[in-house]
Point group: C2
Chain length 229, copies 2
């Protein structure tokens, strides 16, 4: 069903945009990628998401859908051809939504704290909080996957997409700060899962390489410095 016209507004380096891309790939949906320029917002973006003015925006049959996790849910509900992204069982679905919210509301803010921490001691404390946040997800993985490959079981699901899209930037944060957020000692299952996720057919051409993200990161730092007084 729903073979109509699909556009995605975003940048290829945004983990939130990557979520929508992977969901569309899983459903084998053809779409036009409308690249937003870094540092500016297109007229179409401002029109399509006047409230937050943020990418990604999915445009399906001229109707805009905003917010990455809402887009993933929408894609799952519209293109019902297998495989499903969200579980159909209400309890499993609630658990998947819980962990996706944990990633956005808890883990991402913790990651941002690493960047803003000042001084060695407070940086080390911020890193430890992220690692502890990862350990919580490691435990969630063990429970959700039930010995299978992904949070979603045999195939990539909602939590895989929500978390997996951060992997590129996690690697950049590790490299730039010379730190380990993911370790075989503390999150052994997540280390294996991350490799498996990144080499999946629906994912491998979506998440940019670490070197590419490192370059973007340097440009962003320079832009921020130019803007600051």
């Amino acid at each position: 069903m729903a073979t109509s016209y699909v556009k995605l507004l975003g940048t290829r380096s945004s983990p939130y945009v990557n979520r929508a891309q992977i969901a569309l790939n899983i459903k084998s949906v053809n779409y036009e990628f409308l690249e937003e320029k870094m540092g500016s917002k297109s007229e179409l973006l401002l029109e399509s998401n006047p409230i937050h003015k943020k990418i990604p925006v999915l445009i399906h049959d001229d109707k805009p859908i905003c917010e990455s996790l809402i887009i993933v849910q929408y894609i799952d509900q519209v293109w019902t051809s297998a495989p499903s992204i969200l579980p159909s069982d209400p309890y499993d679905r609630a658990i998947a939504c819980f962990w996706a919210a944990y990633i956005d509301d808890k883990l991402i803010p913790l990651l941002k704290e690493i960047r803003t921490a000042e001084g060695e001691e407070s940086k080390a404390a911020a890193i430890e909080r992220v690692v502890e946040g990862m350990v919580v997800l490691e435990e969630a993985f063990v429970k959700c996957s039930k010995g299978k490959a992904f949070f979603g079981g045999d195939s990539i699901g909602y939590v895989d997409i929500a978390f997996g899209c951060l992997l590129g930037w996690l690697k950049v944060t590790q490299k730039m700060g010379d730190m380990q957020l993911f370790t075989e000692a503390r999150t052994p299952n997540l280390v294996i899962w991350a490799e498996r996720f990144c080499s999946h057919d629906a994912v491998k051409d979506v998440i940019p390489k670490t070197e590419e993200l490192l370059e973007i990161s340097k440009i962003k730092i320079l832009q921020a410095r130019e803007k600051s007084p």
Copy 2:
């Protein structure tokens, strides 16, 4: 379906708990309300929501579901007897989820800024930001309700529950700060909607009276003062 045992952990003054209560009322689900004491957390709460340690928690057949909006979605999916809380159409559902997220991620933080604002000028600016946030919701109401009584159309829906549960505390904020956040001049439809929502059968015994919330608010302020160094 699903007439099994349902418990709800929370306090009656929490707008997040009220969301779950209203959803259960809409679905005519009998449940046991397990009141949490203000300022402490029960063993059952800590066990049921070890990650956030927060109310509400819905316990259905011994399985805990956390986070108020996830609970509302769960209730809607489990008790499928009419009326529905979320739209079945994927686009309408995405729009409802968008506005519910707007309320939690944008409007509630703006409301908190009123309390933390220092000085008359910054307080006035914080109030204006909330009113502007309300005007955005007023426009959303006009679009979503399509001339009907609620965001959800003829019956109370997801956005009604997400937003409506804040009304008690909004009134308290208005009263304590001697300010108007809702006005006939700027949000005329929301003023009428709020009255309609609060007098609905599924709502009227759930949202506490302003006087009651004022008392709780005073106790909380005293407790916070005692805790502060």
